[in-house]
């Protein structure tokens, strides 16, 4: 009997989670193609010919929550080991979203190139029992105007 609410939550999580994820990926792809003109580099310094430009710090962050299905499938994966695809797509979404927000920030500030892009990932709570499983990705860099 105890399994029934668990099963219901898992099914709800799977259905809503996959819809939200699909929608999110679609919107990410759309915005990525819109913002393709903003160039991002992990190189530390801009080339010498850009030294006459002004610099500004640009940032973007996002917190994405797991859904119940992901939570369960990761817990099961934990028993046998191997890839946790449910979490891989979660991290991918979070990183791409953070980079997109950074690019949007750059666009608002009038920058067209971002140098020294750094990505920082932190799990706000560890995802244990009765805790909220979520991941934060923060992207920052120096935009050149």
């Amino acid at each position: 009997m105890e399994l029934i609410p668990l099963l219901v939550l898992t099914i709800i999580g799977y259905l809503s989670g996959s819809i939200i994820e699909r929608r999110h990926f679609r919107s990410i792809r759309e915005r990525e193609s819109q913002l393709i003109g903003i160039l991002t580099f992990s190189a530390k310094l801009p080339p010498a010919e850009d030294f006459d430009k002004q610099s500004v710090l640009v940032t973007g962050n996002v917190v994405i929550s797991v859904d119940y299905f992901k939570h369960i499938s990761a817990a099961l994966r934990n028993l046998i080991g191997g890839r946790v695809i449910a979490y891989e797509t979660l991290m991918d979404r979070a990183r791409r979203e953070a980079i997109l927000r950074m690019k949007t920030d750059a666009k608002e500030k009038g920058a067209s190139q971002i140098f020294n892009v750094k990505l920082e990932t932190s799990s706000i709570s560890k995802g244990g029992a009765n805790q909220i499983g979520s991941v934060e990705v923060f992207a920052y860099g120096t935009g050149l105007i």
Binding site: I12, I20, K44, S55, V56, V62, V63, S65, D67, I132
Partner: protein, 104 residues
């Protein structure tokens, strides 16, 4: 005040190094946001409340760093780094640091 996470400011010369400046803040989420987050944990998706919370917190840490830089007479902070650590369950520390310099 110029804030940048690269080591130079393109086109400007650093005339004086003033050492490291830092700013931090510790934030915790409030109950209302927590209840929303518990629901979101079932269906998935972005936790907008948390995103804003962390964004505000980072902004405050940055403001504190800039305040400190101003107080020692700097007009730019270079090589800025952000760092996050969880102090206890439910509370996060946002920390930002950089090198204060004077540029002409």
């Amino acid at each position: 005040m110029i804030v940048s996470n690269i080591e130079i400011i393109p086109g400007k010369r650093i005339t004086k190094h003033l050492g490291m400046v830092q700013g931090n803040t510790v934030r915790t989420k409030h109950l209302g946001r927590d209840i929303m987050a518990v629901l979101k944990n079932i269906v998935g998706g972005e936790l907008v409340g948390y995103t804003e919370l962390l964004n505000d917190a980072r902004q405050e840490a940055t403001d504190r760093m800039i305040e400190q830089a101003k107080s020692i007479g700097a007009n730019a902070v270079l090589n800025v780094r952000f760092s996050t650590s969880s102090v206890s369950a439910g509370a996060a520390e946002l920390f930002v640091y950089g090198t204060a310099v004077v540029v002409d």
